[in-house]
Symmetry: C2
Subunit: 197 residues, 2 copies
């Protein structure tokens, strides 16, 4: 069902491409640029990928398929909605931090995917959002969360989390841990919280 994990040369190409796509924009990057970054010639890339778009697709999958398979299970673990949401926020931010350039590409270049690939990526994103909404609703049912509308809260939470990739720079004032602790508090403690701190 899901794509095999990337290994060896393919993984190398995808990593290099993500970095360059994120910096210069997908359209401005040539196959020769990607090839140069891994020390081969442009034509050799076609031994590993059928097209430039296939490389972009692999980049996008690494930040949509992976979180669905690795982060979402936290929502099925034992614990209250409050605890599960806090675990999700932490894991989500830590994952984005490890794949920041890939995520930047996925945020900005979805339009360059083929219709088929775009649909796959969109499905992953929609499902993730749906699961977030479901935990919010679960917390509303237990009385832990005091928000009036789970849909709106889920949009707010996902936008906050994903926005991270756009502004975080490891070399500035804030550390990853600062953001994780701060966002767990903002999201679980304040945005959703019932006021009982």
């Amino acid at each position: 069902m899901s794509a095999p994990p990337l290994t060896g040369r393919r993984a190398e190409i995808v990593a290099a491409a993500a970095r360059i796509f994120a910096r210069d924009g997908y359209a401005a990057v040539g196959m020769r640029d990607v090839a140069e970054a891994v020390g081969i010639r442009g034509a050799s890339l076609y031994h590993h990928f059928a097209s430039k778009e296939e490389i972009l697709y692999a980049v996008c999958l690494s930040v949509t398929q992976e979180p669905n398979e690795q982060t979402l299970p936290l929502l099925d673990a034992p614990g209250t909605p409050t605890q599960r949401m806090a675990a999700l926020v932490r894991a989500h931010l830590e994952h984005l931090h490890g794949r920041q350039v890939e995520h930047l590409v996925a945020l900005h270049e979805l339009a360059a995917l083929s219709a088929e690939h775009r649909a796959v990526v969109d499905d992953y994103r929609r499902y993730y959002q749906r699961r977030v909404r479901d935990v919010v609703a679960a917390g509303m049912a237990t009385g832990e969360f005091a928000v009036p509308d789970a849909r709106l809260a889920a949009f707010a939470i996902c936008d906050m989390l994903n926005g991270f990739s756009n502004w975080f720079h490891a070399d500035r004032e804030l550390t990853l841990e600062d953001v994780v602790v701060g966002y767990v508090d903002l999201i679980v403690g304040r945005l959703l919280g019932s006021g009982v701190r």
Copy 2:
């Protein structure tokens, strides 16, 4: 200092281009496509704009320069930080709603701008974010806002607001007014609020 307002044919071209760029992605759209949408031939566009990138720049300015000039003054109006922030949230969402396709383009296609134009747009965005952070800090000083870090709260707020363009569809369950009321509550009442409702 600021660009003259768009009028007549130029405005028509920018509006049509924004719609098509938002739907198909800047790179996938040809000058001939933009021209067709306003009922002229591709070459005729060059009477109005020097290049395709200049059209994109005009689109981006309409959702960065405009909010800075029209929405930010609300932060200088009389009233408490709570009141001023609530006014900003409403005005921001209403502005985005009126320029949704332009904003989608600005969110996704910044990489296609020239370095000079990109710098101008980035400056507008940074300044807006800075002003939001300053109101948050002002509310912290008066004790109205109970967040521990103004920077983090400002990122959260801006990402929530701007994310709106990505998911709002006028023909779905939520109306613009639903979102405005809901987000004023989430941001001013809950995220920032001191608990006194």
